[in-house]
Symmetry: D2
Subunit: 106 residues, 4 copies
């Protein structure tokens, strides 16, 4: 499947089911690093490390996950949501956006 014309503004190049993330490479790097961090806390538990150190590390993973989510959310807003608004389909896109923000704001 051909990647988009490298626009950093429009992840939603075809349909909502096929979205090339504009920061795909750096996102994958981040996610890979988070996966390593999660594996790291497994090793900490395995190695009987001090509870507080494990919790501090879990808190760091949470921050990294949040930052990743914010990146995707921003790209989604600049791409999919902006596109929807410009083509008169903003209502549904914004409702969907807010429903996701709710999950993270809680």
């Amino acid at each position: 499947m051909p990647a988009t014309k490298s626009s950093t503004k429009a992840p939603c190049h075809t349909t909502p089911k096929n979205v090339v993330q504009p920061h795909k490479t750096s996102l994958l790097k981040r996610i890979n690093r988070i996966e390593g961090q999660v594996r790291g806390i497994g090793k900490m538990v395995e190695g009987d490390r001090y509870c507080m150190d494990i919790l501090t590390q879990i808190s760091a993973i949470r921050s990294a996950l949040d930052a990743t989510a914010i990146q995707i959310l921003e790209d989604h807003t600049r791409g999919c949501v902006s596109g929807a608004i410009q083509s008169g389909k903003g209502d549904a896109a914004i409702a969907e956006l807010i429903s996701v923000v709710k999950k993270f704001a809680r």
Copy 2:
């Protein structure tokens, strides 16, 4: 008092640097599952999956991480903190506990 490995109340059986988690097996299972979920979002980004679906999945990982942290926090309070309070060293243990709660409550 000789704490044993099987006590569900006392993870701090020797020193703070060597803490056998009372729910070690289930914790490792949980962490392993979270690692798989993180790898899963990597595959979603790789496969150009829809942003909203990725964000929903990240939100689920966050909940799983939080639940894991709460489990460790509870065991830590029942074990290390309780032990410290009973032996008159509660002040430092509680200060440390609260500093970690702050990170999660934000």
Copy 3:
């Protein structure tokens, strides 16, 4: 284009410094109720009420505040941000939106 006060879509009817909230009446009612809840925890502390009951009430206030923020955020996205995107000034509006989402997602 002269937006009107009755539009539920466009809070940004004149300038960013003068925004009539589309749900102004219900927002004021919510905020008034939250103010009463905060006064209520003051009375709880004053009356030496049990800590856990006070904390449960603070947690309820936090939820009410978050719900209010989400309402304003949604209206802002439907109004100011949509308008900015349609008039080609979406970039700054989206950057600002995301900076606020970050504060709530943390």
Copy 4:
């Protein structure tokens, strides 16, 4: 009802239903300030102030509320929970503590 001997360690001086907060005066000041902040956002909405400014202010209130909750939580842990642990009734007190932490950590 006679206030306790000003111990900063033991809010739970009689029963869980009658707890003099060790930082009662400063707590009441904080809560009073938060009440003023909430009234302030009411005035901002009333005065058609910019959405983003209102949201920034709501986020500040949330931080102030969280800091207040953490203070109460810390005093509760040093007082009620420590006391319960020392008198062999730690289990229920810790379960209750964790249930409240869950609400704030989410």
